[in-house]
Amino acid sequence: MNLTLKIWRQKSAKDKGKIVDYTMSDVSPDMSFLEMLDVLNQELIDKGEEPIAFDHDCREGICGMCSMFVNGQAHGPDRAITVCQLHMRSFKDGDTIYIEPWRAKAFPVIKDLIVDRSSFDRIQHAGGFISVNTSGNTQDANAIPINKHDADAAFDAATCIGCGACVASCKNSSAMLFVSAKVSQFALLPQGQVEATDRVMNMVKQMDAEGFGNCTNTGACEVECPKGISLENIARMNREYLKASFKG
């Protein structure tokens, strides 16, 4: 199939950047989206042009690196997948496809389609952990009885891969879904209780300091999240936060 690609090109963080048009012919519907970009990059290299910089690593939907806004949606038109899992059969011959980086003040563009997501790391550092005693007689986690429902919900929250599609999709560039997943995975388990108050307060404080927007419950994040992280996590984080605020 033949395609027209409108791709965001930006030399560096300081460069203004613009959309550049590329045409591709003979794209196989069996290619993955990233393979299609690999082919385009090879063509650019052969012509002596600068290839398009884009993030990727695992190419199997685990690492969350492939951050691309494809045709107006995070990770493209399909549901519950990352861009590396998107295939060209989702498009038609003659299609025009927009490819842009995540847009958020807290995710500045480094080059072309690559954004800096270290704001997520700083939120994690602010409280997304538990302190484990490593004296040699640490209790086996499996020895602590945990309600099956809570264990499942904590596991679901823990599947967040930190891709940032939630922020990219949100009209307010809010990071609530990501932060709520990271708060929830501990809030639901006994191991998370000791630091529960500090965790939610510090993580939310860091989230706000990074310049993410306010959540208005549009629900776009939940729909676009490749891991199906639920809005229930945001409600849980709100409860945790209010509880922690009143504790002081």
Binding site: K6, W8, G17, I19, F69, N71, G72, Q73, P77, Y98, E100, R103, A104, K105, A106, S169, K171, N172, S173, S174, M176, V204, K205, M207, D208, G211, F212, G213, N214, C215, T216, N217, T218, G219, A220, V223, E224, L231, E232, I234, A235, R236, M237, N238, R239, Y241, L242, S245
Partner: protein, 228 residues
């Protein structure tokens, strides 16, 4: 108070509490207005009570005014902050793929509701304040000198709905209210942390409230326009 408003979740919580309060207010406002269709006398009694009972006038009314102003100011502040959180916008963005039109346009539905409220206040509230607190007439009578003249509230309501332009404006205002509520009702519960096994049932209540109440207000406006 200002402490909690410094955090994104605090602002969200405050926005939800003011919204829940305003939704209770709208419900009682509707309950009294609908009386004007079925029983003008009861409507007059209720209006007189609400307009003269001290606790309503000097406690609930100031709280309501504060709630309304807070909800609007906060809504605009949030909109500005949220716009700043994305400085370069997408060349192509398909919001309809993942969220409702209502949820993405609360600022517009809210803005039109604000215009409506200003007109509504000029229509009824400013007049009430003038009669009661400037002219000092607390009687609520059509002719204060004549105790047999009856209450004025029903008459005043009917007169307001004679011009078709005002009826049309009110109808548009209520359509925007419905759009605002269709997202806002459930959103307020999510914001206070209530997302649980009752959320599905709540969605049903939300739809009944968000469409039923504005439709009821529209019915009242049309009824008085065509009945008199």
């Amino acid at each position: 108070m200002s402490g909690i408003l410094n955090s994104s979740i605090g602002r969200k919580f405050a926005m939800a509490l003011s919204a829940l309060f305003l939704m209770v207010f709208i419900l009682q406002h509707f309950a009294i207005n609908i009386l004007s269709v079925f029983s003008p006398d009861t409507f007059n009694e209720a209006s007189h009570f609400m307009g003269t009972f001290w606790a309503v006038q000097f406690i609930l009314q100031p709280v309501l005014i504060f709630g309304v102003i807070f909800h609007f100011v906060m809504g605009f502040v949030l909109e500005i902050q949220n716009n700043r959180a994305r400085q370069v916008s997408y060349a192509k963005s398909n919001g309809a793929a993942n969220s409702s039109w209502m949820s993405r346009n609360m600022i517009w539905s809210g803005g039109f509701i604000l215009v409506f409220i200003v007109i509504h206040m000029i229509d009824f509230w400013v007049h009430e304040m003038n009669v009661k607190y400037v002219a000092g007439d607390m009687s609520g009578l059509i002719n204060p000198a004549d105790p047999t003249s009856g209450f004025r509230y029903y008459e005043e309501l009917v007169v307001k709905f004679v011009p078709i332009w005002r009826v049309a404006l009110y109808c548009v205002g209520f359509i925007f209210l419905a759009l605002h509520l269709l997202h806002g009702f459930g959103s307020a519960f999510q914001s206070i942390g209530a997302n649980n096994k009752y959320t599905k049932a709540l969605k049903g209540v939300s739809n009944v409230y968000s469409i039923g109440i504005p439709a009821g207000f529209i019915f009242i406006a049309l009824y008085h326009h065509f009945a008199h």
